[in-house]
């Protein structure tokens, strides 16, 4: 997904002289071709995220569209105030490409786990947050980022994530996509847990429980209409995300459902990371397992809420 994203930045830069790339201290050879062909629009500015956000803002105020890539925790936590003021308050077209969204860097420990990034940026006016599910979706997203007004946070997965989005799916920033229909429950997801959700829905179907899957690649601005419309059709709603429970997609959906005032209350559950710093290393998969971000746990949760309604 990261490779696709950066390759797309190169392709977009070839087509549009406004496109500028900035990295902090990325791996040797990152976007080598970009640097060779368009050296005046390629910057590697060192471990100085606060400064880089400001530079990106200055370039964007003067007409450039800036793509800044570094590790997701460093692009969200370290330079948070610069993002708020230089990018969001000024409403400038800077794209923050966060490598290793979620628990991709599990072996590297909590300093490198971007598990509250969505909550942080959800709280800031003018920010757009996107979390594609796979490389194909990234390919559909990136052209939309060039002319989108204001800053965008692009949350990257691990790389090599299985392709799960339908080939004919469109991508419009701010739209949610019904990937699977179902009358018994609704699973709402973003990013790579779309795969988990589809697996859970398949398993549930074998038990006669039909769960719809709504993929929300844009967490902000949220496609409230789609979420409320889908939720209206079913008695059970479960959210899943590779993110802490406070402030993420699940919180956003809970807020919508609470304010929708449905005639009958929904049976509702959020699946995500508890409000703790993960205490193990291992891998993204092992941490997902530890905290119940699995198809089996998701299916069990949906089933329990479904059964609770039937009995």
């Amino acid at each position: 997904m990261r490779q696709t994203c950066l390759n797309m930045v190169y392709e977009l830069a070839k087509q549009d002289p406004r496109v500028v790339f900035v990295g902090s201290d990325l791996g040797i050879g990152t976007l080598k071709q970009f640097k060779a062909e368009m050296p005046d629009r390629y910057y590697m500015e060192g471990v100085s995220e606060q400064n880089i956000i400001g530079i990106a803002a200055g370039l964007a105020m003067d007409g450039k569209v800036v793509y800044f890539n570094t590790i997701a925790t460093f692009i969200t936590r370290r330079c948070f105030e610069q993002v708020v003021i230089d990018l969001c308050l000024h409403h400038v077209p800077v794209r923050l490409i966060g490598s290793g969204g979620g628990m991709v860097y599990a072996p590297l420990g909590p300093t490198h786990l971007a598990i509250e990034d969505v909550a942080i940026f959800r709280a800031v006016p003018n920010m757009t947050i996107v979390a594609p599910a796979d490389a194909n979706e990234m390919r559909r997203l990136m052209p939309q980022t060039v002319n989108h007004p204001g800053p965008i946070y692009i949350r990257l997965g691990k790389g090599g994530d299985p392709i799960v989005t339908p080939d004919d799916q469109q991508f419009v920033i701010g739209k949610a996509y019904a990937i699977r229909e179902g009358k018994d429950a609704l699973i709402v997801t973003t990013g790579i847990t779309l795969k988990t959700s589809l697996e859970a829905a398949t398993a549930l179907a074998q038990q006669g429980i039909h769960a719809a899957v709504l993929h929300v690649p844009t967490v902000k601005p949220l496609d409230a209409d789609a979420i409320v419309a889908q939720a209206a059709k079913v008695p059970v709603v479960v959210t899943i995300e590779e993110h802490t429970l406070p402030g993420g997609l699940g919180s956003a959906v809970a807020e919508l459902i609470a304010e929708a005032n449905f005639p009958a209350a929904k049976r509702f559950k959020r699946i995500g990371l508890p409000d703790v710093f993960p205490d193990q290393y291992g891998s993204q998969a092992s941490l997902m397992e530890r905290y119940g971000l699995t198809a089996a746990h998701l299916a069990r949760t949906v089933e329990q809420l479904h059964v609770a309604g039937v009995s």
Binding site: G46, Q50, N51, I55, G58, L59, Q82, D86
Partner: protein
């Protein structure tokens, strides 16, 4: 380097600009007063003698960019922008008011002539670098001036930016430091000492000059010489007095930021500017 005494008498133009600042204080009955008065001559010389701009077309692409990174000094910037015709003096009456465009810190989208919304310190230099890099990409020829405060120079982000400006040999970029040596709590020497200040800028890759920040001729000369080195950004350390021009404000930290300014105090401020 020999710098002339900063305890000099101000000329009529400097006093007139300060009267515009007092109009703003009168309007909002508050403000970072000492921080604005220390900066008047820096802005005056920039806007009178150095910057290229068009008040009728504040976004003219070829304009020189001037960023007030020490956004709390905005009353001085507003005074100069009024003087140059970017917006009418009547706006000063609405300083910090619900229906005004002039806040306690300047905003790009509200105030004609304001290049960046500042107020939180340590942001403006990076933004200025981005603008200077854009000027280089576009071969636009405009220059970028960033005014920072001494307290602001305690922010780590400023030094990240300084390294970056030097790396890119941004000779189109000039930093002016309003070095009044006081911050909210006390002197910079007490709170978090910046010295050896000029050496710091030098070692971060800037060509450095030091001037009397109230000496109009010295400021003119220093700015006329910038860029001092065609391969380096320039830093001009302007030695100033907080509250300059008002005897009871000068060096008086209770005037760093003041609220509920009284009628009597407004009268005293005007009287001082008439008498001197």
């Amino acid at each position: 380097m020999k710098i002339s005494p900063i305890e000099i008498k101000l000329d009529q133009r400097s006093r007139d600009l300060r009267k515009l600042i007092v109009q703003g204080i009168d309007g909002g009955r508050r403000g970072h007063i000492g921080s604005a008065f220390s900066l008047v001559e820096i802005l005056r010389v920039l806007y009178d003698d150095v910057l290229r701009y068009d008040p009728k077309n504040p976004c003219w692409p070829q304009r020189d960019r001037c960023i007030l990174s020490k956004g709390h000094g905005c009353l001085a910037l507003y005074a100069v922008l009024v003087d140059k015709g970017f917006f009418p003096a009547a706006e000063l009456k609405r300083f910090c008011k619900p229906d005004g465009i002039l806040g306690g810190h300047p905003e790009r989208h509200k105030v004609p002539g304001v290049e960046a919304s500042t107020g939180s310190l340590g942001h403006g230099l990076s933004i200025g670098i981005g603008m200077a890099l854009n000027g280089r990409i576009e071969k636009a020829g405009y220059r970028v001036f960033v005014i920072v405060s001494d307290g602001e120079s305690q922010e780590g982000s400023l030094w990240e930016a300084a390294m970056c400006a030097a790396k890119h040999k941004l000779s189109s970029l000039t930093v002016l430091v309003d070095y009044n040596k006081q911050q909210s709590y006390g002197t910079t020497a007490e709170v978090l000492d910046l010295e050896p200040f000029a050496d710091k800028w030098r070692s971060f890759g800037f060509a450095v000059t030091e001037v009397n920040g109230h000496g109009v001729d010295e400021l003119r000369a220093a700015l006329a010489q910038a860029p001092v080195d065609p391969k380096k950004p320039t830093a001009i350390i302007c030695h100033t007095i907080k509250g300059k021009g008002i005897s009871f404000c000068e060096g008086n930290l209770s005037w760093h930021h003041k609220t509920r300014v009284s009628d009597d105090e407004i009268k005293l401020l005007y009287a001082e500017l008439e008498a001197r």
